[in-house]
Subunit: 472 residues, 2 copies
């Protein structure tokens, strides 16, 4: 079970930069307000944009898991490579699950060791990367043993659509009539451009469930299909997510991890000016989960207007960091720069069989203290030392502890932050489920790319960005 230790967010540890412990009193305002929000969330769960809350249990789970498993059983024997075509919420979860739960050397392992396909996630339209990935797949298994997993609810996301158009054409040329067998689409089950293409061309599909937004979709087929293809235990993942959900249904602030996390970060953010929220795992495997968190936290809470239409420019800047590595890069700033951050440390108790025993016998006095210890001890000593040093500089921080990194605990972690985001949205009185500011860039891109109906945007962009000579 994950735990959050938040002692270092309190004024008793970090002085005026922390919260008064009385603020978290179970009988106080904040705790009462949270109890109300918990009731509200219980009423809205499974409806509207909060359907994601039901992904780990009930009917959606019963629908998705067997469909994914059947498809995986069919595809795994003929897949040396799996290429995910998606961006944002259609890619970040896949990357996070894979890096958390598979070997960091997965793609370099032999077929026998992996027991599943190499995984490549093309979450950008960078031509060099696209070409390099296609080349590697061609030479290792070939296109006939490469499954392309296009993930797009609408099919109109320009990046994914253009990658898909390139891939479809390539496969038709390379594989002939049967090319459709190498494409799996995860898309809207009923409507939209990708649905239309899938129906016309006969691709196998899995659903992006109605009412599940991109950044809340990792526990749907969007994230689960590629995970299962690579042998991740998706049932354990959902079990962990559901276990966290149960804990986060408590109306008691001090027994509800997501509510507490939201309360700490929103209070520190809005009352103490700590608007930068760092997530710093002391484990390489969890580093890319911080990228998934970045989207969730930034897009959900970064809003110009609140629900009453008042201009608020609210939100927090999520920052990913890595312990111990970033102690040698960012901690100088975190301790001595502007005191504008809350630093979320992640500690892992047990790393698995290899502990990195540090041998004796080097015979150098200054390094004797390391002999007979191991890398796990060192990692955790450094984490503790950093925590101490942050406190000394009055920098609020907290620790999320993983007993170990496995599917169950990663599932807990995902729902911890998803549910915390729902609380934070309510606390800030904003809509956590829209992303209105992304629209203008999309329209401007359409205009610049010559899409009919968007001509005015090209003119506006060209005028707005006309050369002024401010160039060096």
């Amino acid at each position: 079970m994950l735990t959050i230790n938040y002692a270092n967010c309190l004024s008793s540890r970090v002085g005026p930069h922390g919260l008064d412990p009385a603020r978290l009193d179970p009988a106080g305002d904040l705790a009462q307000g949270i109890a109300d929000l918990t009731q509200r969330l219980a009423q809205t769960r499974g409806t509207g944009w909060e359907r994601w809350r039901e992904l780990a249990r009930g009917q959606m789970r019963q629908d998705h898991i067997p469909a994914i498993k059947a498809l995986v059983d069919e595809l795994r024997p003929r897949a040396s490579n799996l290429i995910v075509l998606g961006i944002g919420g259609s890619a970040l979860g896949n990357i996070a699950l894979h890096s958390a739960l598979r070997s960091p050397m997965w793609n370099l392992q032999s077929d026998e060791e992996r027991g599943g396909p190499r995984l490549f996630v093309l979450d950008n339209v960078d031509p060099t990367s696209v070409a390099a990935v296609l080349d590697i797949c061609k030479k290792n298994g070939g296109y006939e043993r490469t499954i392309f997993n296009v993930v797009s609810k609408s099919g109109e996301t320009a990046e994914t659509a253009s990658q898909f158009m390139i891939i479809r054409d390539l496969l038709k040329r390379e594989l002939g009539e049967g090319y459709a067998k190498n494409i799996v689409a995860i898309t809207d089950p009923e409507k939209g451009t990708m649905r239309q293409i899938c129906d016309a061309e006969g691709f196998v599909t899995l659903p992006v469930p109605e009412g599940v937004g991109g950044r809340f979709s990792v526990l749907s087929p969007v994230g689960l299909f590629s995970a299962a293809m690579c042998g991740i235990d998706i049932n354990a993942l959902l079990d962990g997510a559901d276990a966290m959900d149960k804990r986060c249904s408590s109306e008691k602030l001090n027994e509800n991890p997501a509510a507490m996390l939201a309360a700490l970060l929103v209070e520190l953010g809005t009352r103490k000016g700590k608007t930068n929220h760092v997530l710093m795992p002391y484990a390489n495997s969890l580093y890319l989960l911080a990228d998934w968190f970045r989207q969730l936290w930034a897009e959900s809470l970064g809003k110009q207007f609140d629900r009453d239409g008042k201009e608020v420019f609210t939100g927090f800047t999520p920052i990913k960091a890595l312990g111990t590595t970033d102690q040698h890069s960012q901690v100088q700033l975190y301790r001595e720069g502007p005191n504008d951050k809350v630093i979320g440390l992640i500690e892992v108790e047990s790393f698995g069989p290899y502990k990195g025993e540090i041998p004796t016998g080097l015979g150098i006095e200054n390094l004797k203290y390391l002999e007979g210890s191991n890398l796990v001890e060192l990692m955790n000593a450094e984490k503790r030392a950093t925590e101490f040093a942050l406190n000394e500089s009055q920098r609020p921080n907290f620790t999320i502890k993983f007993p170990k990194v496995d599917a169950h605990h990663v599932g807990e972690f995902i729902n911890l932050w998803q549910i915390a985001t729902a609380y934070a949205g309510l606390m800030l009185n904003i809509d956590a489920y829209n992303q209105p500011a992304v629209e203008l860039g999309k329209r401007a891109t359409f205009g610049l790319m010559g899409r009919a109906g968007f001509e005015e945007f090209k003119g506006k962009v060209d005028e707005g960005l006309a050369e002024t000579g401010y160039l060096v």
Copy 2:
């Protein structure tokens, strides 16, 4: 030649959140002050902690390049794998150069395609990663064809020292007496713990030059050796760095890219509250250069005290982002969240032979606009669209343009930021070359790991972090 377009940092484009163009007047205060700083930097270059400024020219270059080339010529034929052991400034530059200038699929390519060793940089003590990398090397070429490049000026960095102790022991067991031939140390040429070990065990060494700090060492053997092993043109890199240095020797603000970059970021940071500095390349290859930048900018400028001993808590939080990917993750926040950022976009004009032509013939009306275009056009349209959208929200931003990504331009980029950091340090009146806040964490780690002489720190940490029950 790199160019910086800073029109979008000005009030003419982003209203009150930008700088008044008059502030950059060539005859104004700021430009005069910059001219003075340029003179100061001309006097201090090559002395004290500004010896890094001479790495790309003169005697240091003449010493380093032939030594590196000779060693590379000897080692490349017997190296299938190169593992760098280093952290912070002893790793970030290596990673950045490799990802910028080698294939993203380098380690998956065949020996013939690469023409150089696979590269692994172990910049953390994560035991899972260490075990996975060693296992891959053992199975692909074996330890006898694996070169270990330990990078540590003193040899006392706990992370690098413990990795080194593990590796040394492993190699002695696996390779017997000749094990030293598989270790290359980059360390202090005269003194320190690693020097002592190298002298005793007969490792080949290259120097960390005197007066070159970790985060300014990428153009020394620290960064150049692994780059040259992987076939990067290190002369072109230094030529580019030197070409940028020449441009940055101009006393005219509007002809000096580093001075202009520093002026914009410091002025926006200190006068307009834009203390978060995002670097967002529209090219996957440049993404990890943003990690190198993060250390440089954070550690150099994040300081509690200025040179006069006044408490200032100054500095800026560097943030890495990736275009187009982070348009689907961070741009919502960048446009609607707190207006506390300057966003540095990086544009690449030419991506190389593969442009990702988007084929015709899908026959879907809504995607017709993409047909016949290519991924390079799409990438750059999205960049331009984002720039436009940021301006519409009055978010200051600038664009660094690469004609293409090659060693020369990457060299320019590195010196652009290194020299900008020197200017920013002077403008903020702080010491850009120390990192006093890192010391406490190091001592606390020593204490927790039982190093003699640091016992008091263990007691302090245990007392400071005693359990309080603030746990959920």
